[in-house]
Amino acid sequence: MDDVKILEAVERYITGQMTPDERVYFENLRKSSSEIDQLVVEHTFFMQQMNRYDQTKKYKSLLADTHLHLAEKGAIQSTRLQGKAKIVYLYNRHKRTASIAASIAGITALAISMLVSSVTPTSQKNDIALLNGEIKAIKNQNQQQKREIDNIKQNINVTTAPIVYKTGGTSFLIDVAGYLVTNAHVVRNAQHIAVQNSKGQDLAAQVVYTDALRDLTILKITDTSFKAPVSIPYSIKKTSAEIAEPIYTLGFPRNEIVYGEGYLAAKTGFNGDTLTCQIAIAANPGNSGGPILNNRGEVVGILSAKQISAEGVVFATQSKYIYKALAQLQKDTSFQRIKLPSTSSVKGLDKTQQVKKISDFVYRVKVN
């Protein structure tokens, strides 16, 4: 109890809140007791440290914010995309290996072609021309089919009434070209899917990949009015999160984006399911498919389900399965260009700033 009072006196002395009389008295005390004198010195130093820590922390967060701001405006070459810087970097880094590899490849190719040309007599020109012709024929056929399909489509379009969406969930962008991730159960048996952006605009979307086991679906926005953003502010984490790590989510339990906060409760999900993890967060129907982010702005999971028999027990699919799902999808070469964001540009910003940046990338899913 006494110590508390002494500390309070020391603090008032340091900050200059003492009356002149008190001050004289305290200074005498300081002279007579080396303990108190030492406490004053130590505490002054510590207060300085704390203040400096606070200022530097604020300054650093301001720097991170400025970087993001300038990069978005295009005033500086932003970190992630710029082709040229990246090429120079990769070139410098790998030029030696690349040149060795290239020369080996060159020599091998020369050797093989010499071998081949010395062995085979030539009469292949006709074959090539023929092949060309066949491709052309197939192309024509394709075009014809397309025209027919278009005709049919148009006929259908005329007859359909405006679509009324009945159920919904949440999804978030994983590639600037309009690829989104959500839960498979959100879009199960869907005939029409639309996603609604932060401006309230509905965009038509299509399922391109579903993994029912892990409850994951990748959607693609097919609407022509979709404007691709420059970059995605969060990253997708490849490893699992730690227990007790603070997390937050954004989702659409109603027609408005809603923020929720909690922590990772267990590394496994319902009945020890290792595909998911347990989190403690307030979730309602419509939150499904929402991103679970940690303080560094990394997506660690996708909110998927809650246990009905227990209060506040929510499960999330672990984020590493997004990578797995994408790898499956990319077996089809037309999806080769999708690239998951690997660095988080909101790292170091405070929560409000992070949420402000991220909420534009979270979409409401509407299903009919």
């Binding site: 508390v4 704390m50 650093k60 301001l62 720097l63 400025t66 500086i76 970190t79």
Partner: protein
Amino acid sequence: MKEANTEKALLEGLARSDRKAIEIIYKENFNAIQSLVVNNNGSADDAKDIFQEAMVVLYEKAKSGSFELNCLIKTYLYSVCRRLWLKKLLYQNRFTINDVQEESISVEEDLEDHDQKDQEFELMEKAMGSLGEPCKSLLEAFYLQKRNMQEIALSFGYTNSDNAKNQKYKCLMRLKKAFFLQYKTEL
């Protein structure tokens, strides 16, 4: 003359953590540093880290008040970044740096200062992180946001300000212990 004035104003702004000043300095210098780092085996992310560390060095220097403006901010930042990046390359066993411009001023001393301050910053961050809630928020509210005890007692749900004061004292002792224990062994 005018140039010196604006440079001085920028540094003063920086010392106050003025957003505008930071933005101007950032905009004018970042691309040069990025190409320095990227042309010398670094990535764009490395460039961002190095540049932001140099900005912290400049900030510390501006705040110390003893900053003699004997060179342009541009020159200073470039020299600091070059040194920092060289250090990092040495650490990774890659030695050379090809650049357009040599360091024109010596920044060795400033960087030693910065290392010390950086270590102190990390110690405090660790000590704060080890505290847990509500200790951390309580101390932040009192010492950093300078809110008064009655208000704190109310918003943290203590029955009176004396209770809050006792709790604050305990938290502070824990923080001090965590900080000084490391401080004495490391520095």
